[in-house]
């Protein structure tokens, strides 16, 4: 099997390069289905332990048993990239998968969001995540599983709360309000921080301490890692490990439609040109392709979800046909799902694909809405804003150390689920070690404050 796919794989690569795909080399590896399933659950081949992954694992296992989901491949961008092929794949399927993976590899090498993330996180996320897992295993040895789990409860609950625009590596906020003559004289600054005659210092340097944080801070993981009053070193390391992995996951999340579509477009195209594949295997591969990009289950008239593979695939086909390959390569480098859908999901294409927007009321009635391309794009993109999480930011820290969070309910359109929010605050309070409060709005839209439940 390995030999056969290697032969086909090489030929597919030649075709890919001839078509202009450009990527870091990929290490392909065949793995058992059980391994594929775990990767799908954890997002990375070796990742930190947490009980919540166990729950996802069981769901995945059951879905798998019921035949609802089949994973052909997973791929991790990097230099080299890593791709895992399910051992259960037929040769035809694997040929398709290699082509698909090369599409991903090209995408992640050139897409702006991926490039930035790769530069920041490094090109070996698989190994880095394994290092994090080892580091956490060591913490468990030293601190005990219960303490480590508490920290992971908090850190993983905030997984999506990073600020990709401010980046992975960040400096601490300036301590004093800028504009002071002496503020860049580090020796004097440090000298004045020494204990001593405070009155004299105050008289000499009337400086204003900057508020903490100076602006609403979206990167909750960073803020807590940097400013929690009594965080221990190993706890900070866990927060930063989770945060680093989040920066890695962000482009995968924010470019899913584009990226899966791009890979599907290329596997279809490379396969069409792969005249070295015998007829019967070619048909098998085409069958696998149509399973992947089918709009929805065949026995249903309509689905209340859109298959991103299908949507992306159709959009790229239309772009290639109408705007040409040159422009397509540009788009794959510059856009993310937001601009991609807004700019290239045209009303005509949406109609051709039979996309629709629906409203679901609380009593369970689902109704198809009027056709409106902008509203449809919004409906597709709404779950993707802000890494898919509500906009919660640090508002301030009191003198007694109380951490104030604020939820931007205006941009999210409604308040937070109060019970869940309180539980999250409970997680946070255990690492912040001071009270934690959150402002949001209740069901009637009135401001309300949520506190962590009493321990």
């Amino acid at each position: 099997m390995a030999a056969a796919i290697e032969t086909y794989g090489r030929r597919i690569e030649e075709l890919a390069r001839a078509q202009g795909l450009d990527y870091f080399p990929v290490q392909f590896e065949e793995v058992p289905d059980s391994f594929m399933m775990e990767v799908a659950v954890y997002g990375l081949p070796v990742r930190m332990p947490h009980w919540s992954f166990g729950v996802r694992y069981i769901y995945q296992l059951i879905q798998h048993r019921m035949g609802h989901s089949r994973l052909f491949e997973v791929v991790f961008p990097g230099n080299p990239g890593r791709a895992y092929l399910a051992r259960g794949n037929s040769l035809a399927e694997n040929t398709l998968v290699v082509a698909h993976v090369l599409g991903h590899a090209d995408f992640s090498r050139h897409n702006e969001l991926f490039r930035r993330s790769q530069q920041e996180v490094g090109y070996r996320i698989v190994d880095q995540a394994a290092d994090h897992a080892r580091q956490i295993a060591a913490a468990i040895e030293e601190q005990g599983a219960a303490r480590v789990e508490q920290v992971l409860d908090a850190a993983l609950a905030l997984e999506a709360h990073i600020d990709v625009f401010r980046g992975l590596r960040r400096e601490a906020y300036p301590e004093f309000v800028a504009g002071q003559a002496t503020s860049d004289d580090t020796f004097r600054q440090r000298f004045h921080q020494l204990p001593g005659d405070e009155r004299a210092v105050a008289a000499a340097e009337p400086r204003r301490r900057a508020p903490l944080p100076p602006h609403p801070e979206k990167d909750l993981l960073w803020f807590i890692a940097r400013y929690a009053p009594e965080l221990e070193g190993w706890e900070r390391d866990i927060f930063l490990a989770v945060r680093e992995e989040s920066f890695y996951f962000y482009p995968v999340f924010a470019c899913q439609i584009m990226n899966e579509g791009w890979a599907s477009y290329w596997h279809a195209r490379l396969l069409r040109e792969a005249d070295f594949i015998p007829q019967h295997e070619y048909l098998d591969a085409i069958k696998a392709h149509s399973d992947v990009v089918r709009p929805h289950a065949a026995d249903r008239q309509a689905s209340l979800a859109i298959n991103p593979y299908h949507l992306g695939f159709c959009m790229w086909e239309s772009i290639m046909d109408n705007l040409g390959p040159q422009k397509a390569f540009e788009i794959r480098a510059q856009d993310d799902d937001f601009s991609f859908v807004r700019n290239y999901l045209t009303a005509e294409l949406a109609e051709e694909l039979k996309l629709f927007r629906y409203t679901a009321s609380a009593n369970g009635v689902v109704e198809v809405a009027e056709r409106d391309i902008n509203a449809l794009r919004d409906a597709i993109l709404a779950p993707k804003y802000n890494f898919g999480a509500p906009a919660v930011a640090v508002r301030g820290v009191d003198t007694d150390g109380t951490l104030h969070l604020a939820h931007d309910h205006a941009s999210d359109g409604r308040g937070l689920d109060a019970d869940r929010a309180a539980r999250v605050l409970g997680y946070l309070q255990r690492v912040w070690r001071r009270p934690v409060r959150l402002e949001t709005v209740d069901g009637r839209g009135e401001a309300c404050v949520i506190d962590a439940p009493a321990a």
Binding site: F28, Y42, S52, I58, Y309, A421
Partner: protein
């Protein structure tokens, strides 16, 4: 720049590294462990429906539970959600709601959904009682000695003669080895090597008990009241089981008259009419006299009621109850008051208070909610532990 990609397959040893990490299973076990602990914290409600008379030490209760949720910030449910779909529909069409999962490639967050999955935890009743004991930090109880003694066979020593079933192979082998150490040429076994376990009879304090559960089943007892009383009774039995090797249960229901019932029917019994507690008390006294010689049995008596009793019955009930408390190791009164603020301030509670004031081992518990059941169980266990240790 254009390095070729590499392909590696299933053969060589290098691919086994991930077999070391069965991470999904590991984290799933951890989840289950946490779940068990969570269940532990709300045991009384969870276990209200279990049968209480089973004696199999390995018996279990099956508790349906939900998966634990790792909480995240989430928006509250929208009054009207909107989403995007695909298919052959026209504006204004109404669609069937659920099962709205997308096609096969969903790599989505399996973790946060309900998905219709339910987990059933199987808990050993004995373990649960252990947890309770641990939580209450109670001492281990010695079997409570009764007034009289039972004859019981016990192992003691070895003999050279005996029936085959008592042959102690290990001991016999040892003898054989000793002999052959001296005489290596001897046969593997001789009759002289054989050792048999010996039994002697010993007089033992009686460790049996009978527990009476009497309940007012007149129309004023609601289903909720019965459930609370049943939960309490269940735990009483589990607690007593630790102290007595043999435990018998007797169920008595009453309105103006009293009847003995099998356990299975007891909690379903529904009567109508008034409440005459003395009828139950005298039936219990009769049963004790007929079947449970107080010299051989430790008697426990529990009575559940909403506290109402006919005024005219006061003297008869008082006398009947005094007759029982005089014999019983412990008597408990479980009141399920009609309103929460009125606990143990009733006619029946007064009857039991008289007995407690007279120095008899009597205690009363008001059950208004599942939390108060919990509190009552703790109080009962503590009381028993003190009595058992003293």
């Amino acid at each position: 720049m254009n390095l070729p990609s590499t392909f590696s397959g299933c053969s060589a040893g290098g691919e086994d590294w991930y077999e070391l990490f069965s991470r999904g299973a590991r984290d799933w076990l951890r989840h289950n462990e946490k779940l068990r602990r969570a269940v532990r914290e709300k045991l009384p409600e969870v276990l209200g429906n279990a049968e209480m008379s089973g004696t199999d030490p390995g018996r279990t209760v099956r508790v349906p539970v939900r998966f634990l949720e790792h909480y995240r910030f989430r928006l509250r449910e929208a009054d009207e959600a909107t989403g995007a779909g695909q298919g052959d529909v026209r504006p204004g069409d109404r669609l069937a709601q659920p099962g709205a999962t997308g096609p096969g490639q969903d790599k989505g967050e399996g973790g946060d959904g309900e998905g219709g999955l339910q987990l059933v935890l199987e808990l050993k009743v004995d373990d649960i009682v252990d947890w309770l004991w641990e939580e209450l930090e109670l001492p281990n109880l010695q079997p409570r000695a009764g007034a009289t003694l039972d004859d019981e066979y016990q192992r003691e020593g070895w003999s050279r003669r005996g029936v085959r079933s008592r042959l102690d192979r290990r001991r016999s082998m040892k003898e054989s080895l000793k002999r052959r150490a001296v005489d290596p040429a001897g046969p593997a076994f001789t009759d002289e090597d054989l050792r048999f376990r010996q039994l002697v009879t010993r007089r033992q304090p009686a460790t049996q008990a009978v527990v009476f559960f009497a309940m007012d089943v007149s129309s004023s007892m609601r289903d909720r009241d019965r459930q609370l009383a049943k939960t309490f009774f269940f735990w009483v039995v589990q607690g007593l089981r630790r102290q007595y090797s043999r435990l018998e249960l007797v169920f008595v229901a009453h309105t103006v008259k009293a009847w003995e019932f099998p356990e299975a029917e007891f909690f379903q019994v529904r009567g109508s009419g008034g409440t005459v507690a003395s009828s139950a008390f005298s039936l219990v006294s009769e049963i004790i006299a007929e079947r449970y010689d107080p010299a051989r049995y430790n008697v426990y008596f529990f009575y559940g009621s909403d506290g109402e009793n006919f005024k005219d019955d006061h003297d008869a009930a008082s006398a009947g109850l005094a007759g029982i408390t005089a014999l019983a190791s412990f008597s408990g009164y479980v009141e399920t008051p009609a309103s929460e603020d009125r606990g143990l301030d009733t006619e029946t509670a007064g009857l039991f208070r008289e007995q407690a004031d007279a120095g008899r081992p009597v205690d009363s518990y008001a059950l208004t909610s599942s939390e108060s059941v919990w509190a009552a169980i703790r109080a009962f266990f503590r009381q028993q532990a003190v009595a058992g240790a003293g």
